[in-house]
Amino acid sequence: MVNNEYALKTNDLNVFYGEKHAVKQLSIDFPRHTVTALIGPSGCGKSTYLRSLNRMNDLIEGAKVTGEIWFDGENVNHSAAHVRLLRKRIGMVFQKPNPFYKSIYENIAYGPRFHGVTSRKELDEIVESSLRKAALWDEVKDRLHHSALALSGGQQQRLCIARTLSLNPEILLLDEPASALDPISTSKIEELIQQLKVNYTIIIVTHNMQQAARISDQTAFFLMGELIELNDTNQIFTKPTRKETEDYITGRFG
């Protein structure tokens, strides 16, 4: 692995949905082992941008992504790039908790098993360590073989994070991971993000300004598919340089 300063960079990234130009010329660098928050009003393209980083937009008919995504010394926005390997190394957690209709154990073991882990012992270890990293182990260790759907929403979301961690990714893309959760579950997820950034580079989309201020190191403000301002989170929330940013974070629109 190339141990440079940035885990991921995008260069002039554009996303089109048919005629709609949803993301415009976005260039952002993501420093290794930091949390970057993407904020902005609904429909500003932040989720679309996030989903293009692990090529999830490939699944959407009529979506086209142009520009460069630099990951590990390679431009991965390229038809020849190994998309499955990329998705393994850049994990994603979605807005709505989406555990599989399987047991807690199988939810975690599913990914590693597909990617070649066969020994039961090894799978057991992955399941335990992933659940520990997601701060869920103590709550579920006695019911690993029960349905994941019986967990609470907050637990389900941490299970989804554990599921992503089971593949040992380098980057975590979090698409409003706490927006469907109650305040207690939300604070657990935020705490978790703080712990995870020691080992992972995290990019999080959030609607919650306080959340962005609490957990991120740098913040990018999006508006109508464009990057308005990118800076240290402290800077953005105390001394924004652009009028639009200030209006948004002080709640004057959006």
Binding site: N54, R87, Y110, G111
Partner: protein, 294 residues
């Protein structure tokens, strides 16, 4: 009339409709069972029919119905799964797939006698299989495939999209996602479709008259060599099913106890379908639990 009264009226109407359905169903069922059960005993279920005198059974016909069910499902299930998976997961949205869907709609509304005559032409004559279980199984496949394809497609499409995204985001292939994530969730819907299809196989007569035939050779139930003409397993022998037998003895039967045999066979048919339904649902539940840990 105020809102409250309207609400009460609507509730009453729906209750009345539900009661009508239940009454009709139970009336029919108890009529069939009341008349038929008197005739059903071990001898009736196991012995072959008589042609001139009273006291014959429907053993071979019952076996034929079950064997035809197995053969038809062996052909229908893979084709139906394949077609349904294609339409739900791989088919692009364009003119060609619109035409495929339209053809399936049309195929599903074909009268079964037309399917039977088509089977006579293609399987019995052109393929040269004669009146045989195999011809019957293929004709019933034509009859059931549209239903099966639609059910599989709809069951797969109703799996939440997030499930698929979650799997793709783990770098897992489309095919593995279909097998490990989508199909287990879609299983109850697919199973319901398969049970409906099986019920149609048991009950179908018109499509079988000219394909599986209206006679059953003397079967030797000790002979399990599928290539032997006297073996019950031989797929190239004619095979009159229970439903066809009921129709035949009612229209041209010479035995004095036509009424009793028809009643008994009808009741036996209903009971077989019932047992099959319950068993299939129980198995489906067990499988779903196993696959989803619920």
């Amino acid at each position: 009339m105020n809102t409250k009264a309207k609400d009460r009226l609507a509730t009453g109407v729906f209750y009345a409709m539900a009661i009508i359905i239940v009454v009709v169903l139970f009336g029919l069922l108890s009529y069939i069972l009341f008349h038929g059960l008197q005739r059903i005993d071990l001898q009736f279920i196991t012995s072959p029919p008589e042609f001139m005198k009273a006291g014959g059974g429907v053993g071979p016909q019952l076996f034929n119905s079950l064997y035809l069910l197995v053969l038809t499902m062996l052909i229908t299930l893979p084709l139906g799964l394949g077609g349904g998976i294609y339409l739900a997961e791989y088919a692009p949205k364009n003119k060609v797939t619109d035409i495929i869907r339209l053809s399936i709609e049309v195929l599903s509304s074909l009268p079964s006698i037309v399917v039977g005559l088509f089977g006579l032409m293609l399987f019995v004559n052109t393929m040269g299989w004669g009146y045989s279980i195999l011809s019957g199984a293929f004709a019933l496949t034509v009859f059931n495939l549209p239903l099966m394809v639609r059910v599989v497609e709809e069951s797969l499409s109703s799996v939440p999209r997030e499930q698929k995204e979650a799997s793709f985001a783990l770098g897992i292939t489309h095919w593995a996602t279909i097998r490990k994530v989508l199909l287990p969730v879609a299983l109850p819907g697919i199973l319901t479709g398969a049970i409906l299809a099986a019920g149609r196989i048991f009950g179908e007569a018109a499509a079988l008259l000219f394909t599986a035939g209206m006679s059953s050779p003397n079967l030797n139930f000790a002979n399990w060599n599928p290539l032997d003409p006297a073996s019950p397993l031989n797929p190239f022998r004619p095979a009159e099913t229970l439903a066809v037998h009921i129709w035949k003895i009612n229209s041209e039967g010479l035995i004095p106890d036509v009424r009793e045999v028809a009643d008994g066979a009808s009741a036996l048919l209903v009971i077989t379908v019932l047992i099959f339904n319950i068993a299939a649902r129980w198995f489906g539940k067990w499988l779903y639990r196993r696959l989803t840990a619920s």
